[in-house]
Symmetry: C2
Amino acid sequence: MPVTLKDVAARAGVSISTASNALTGSRAVSAVSVERVLSAAAELGYQKNEAARTLRTGLRNAIGLVVPDVTNPFWGGMVSTIDRIAAESGFHVALTNTEFTPQRETAALARLVSRVDGILLFSTHPTGSAVRPLLDLGIPVVACDEAFELDGLGGVYSDNEAGARAAASHLVDAGGSVFGILEGPATLTTAQQRARGFRQGLQERGVLTTDIHAATAEYSFEGGRQGIRRLLAENPAIDAIFACTDNQAIGGIFEAMDMGRTIPDDLLVCGFDDISWSSRIAPSLTTLRQDAEGMATRAADMLLEMITVGGEPSVQVFPVELVARDSTRRGAGGESPVTSL
Amino acid sequence: MPVTLKDVAARAGVSISTASNALTGSRAVSAVSVERVLSAAAELGYQKNEAARTLRTGLRNAIGLVVPDVTNPFWGGMVSTIDRIAAESGFHVALTNTEFTPQRETAALARLVSRVDGILLFSTHPTGSAVRPLLDLGIPVVACDEAFELDGLGGVYSDNEAGARAAASHLVDAGGSVFGILEGPATLTTAQQRARGFRQGLQERGVLTTDIHAATAEYSFEGGRQGIRRLLAENPAIDAIFACTDNQAIGGIFEAMDMGRTIPDDLLVCGFDDISWSSRIAPSLTTLRQDAEGMATRAADMLLEMITVGGEPSVQVFPVELVARDSTRRGAGGESPVTSL
DNA sequence: TGGCTGTAATAAAACGATTTACATGCCCGA
DNA sequence: TCGGGCATGTAAATCGTTTTATTACAGCCA
């Protein structure tokens, strides 16, 4: 049987209301009473019952965080940042890892509704049908990474199209002539935007449509392996690859090397994300760096603001940076220049 | 104003108690009433208020998960597994990432006490002083990875000593003669156990103490880089390295290569964990595979059992497997044999 | 003294579910 | 016909807080 406020009040010789006010400070209480309540609480080891507080005030001090795959350091890092910011405001994070399945995403949202004050959503099925009801219930939602077409929703995204255009231009400069795209699943807006941007970029540089080939692949190491295998088998002339994700790109590099290709001499490869491993593998991976830390910070701040002071949702697009490394650098090596877009 | 059970009951034309019983099934209700309540609930979009339910029943349907670093795929993978298992039982996961700091670990435990039914703790400061109070409050706690000396606590650990002994033996077989250990922070029991086991293993193989050198390093890629730099600078004769963590080992490999060493010819390297990247880098990393999936599953199951049916805590030690790869294979390559201990 | 103001304290009413204890109606055997 | 199950329903108590009235009391001024 846990210690309740009633016990504390009894021990301090005051009423329950006074004890409550002394602890929360929501109404003036004489110094002597405050002192007695505080020491009584300490002596008894009083722990406030959060459920009761929540029932009365409606504040849960929790945010829901829905992520496709914490194992991927891109999302893992964002989870870490968000958790830190939430903790600083006294919020805790209810995490759900969907493993890319729409069922788990929908189930998670349903489960979170009545347990959190707001939701930070890294969706992999941004259709809106699962999110609309949350907004109607008045629950603040901020989408991150995958864009939603839904108003009343906060959004924090990367400028995927601009990034992919820069990748195209860079691959042309690096000497690519026949291009392959490792596209992500068609449901993902990031995949669509990156593929579209890349095609646009190639067109701007005068590359013919017949010199552009694409394959769909999961956003994972294995997906990249399989995708590039299909791509190179069907179009052996490909000499430059753009992958929608670093994980795909790295899987692709390993598969290509297993197939006997030399990177970058036989095949240029460019990824997207700049996860920590991209600079560690050999050859190091040229990629588009997303400002994961900045985006996570902005998303968490926006959500907390919507929850605590009723802030309005907004949509913010972050620029990405091209980080040129060995996987697109033929001939002599050198440092890793970073180009901001 | 949200829909309450009262509204549902009114719409269904029954009492609140009947509505409750119809929804929870805790008492028999006539089929017709059940039907009316269910459809009323559906029509109104009723969402049960979890706080009220928790207040009354004392069940929070939540577990706390305290982890040092989700960015590391070893822990990230376990988080993913645990989340899946919890979700299957209708529990949600309150995650805290401590970033290895004792303050955040302590703060997290304090914050979780009144919000979860049980805690799964991957500690980095396994002193017990922060955990004892939880146990006294009757909150089930299962420690994972880092061992605690505390009874009433569940435990799921790897057999670190046996693994490290095997590493020693393997490095001797592979041709090592002067050994370096990348130890982890002294507060970590895993670091202590692995270093001790490694030393034991070397002694068993007749290696002299004077041929064993150690440096302390953080459990991270950067920690590994710095640690190996110090180690090789002070003892250039070292030709075999055992790192307490794959992250350290990989950082170490990169740093050693930057220093002009060839792996494995100049330097044998063995890690511990078998994170996914260990088989992807070049040279691929010989390591001790922890059964992360199995441990996470066991830990989650044990905790849920303690919560739901009052199961007794137990301590379980998982064996680790030596996975020999290129970083300790001089001469010709080949497949990757796995030795179970 | 009487009335007014302001400060502290308290009793009691929420919050929304679950659950206990009691009421009702019906069937059946004695 | 009466009383004892049996199946359903319901009113009301309860969980532990916060918050809203309300009360008590002192100080102050006319």
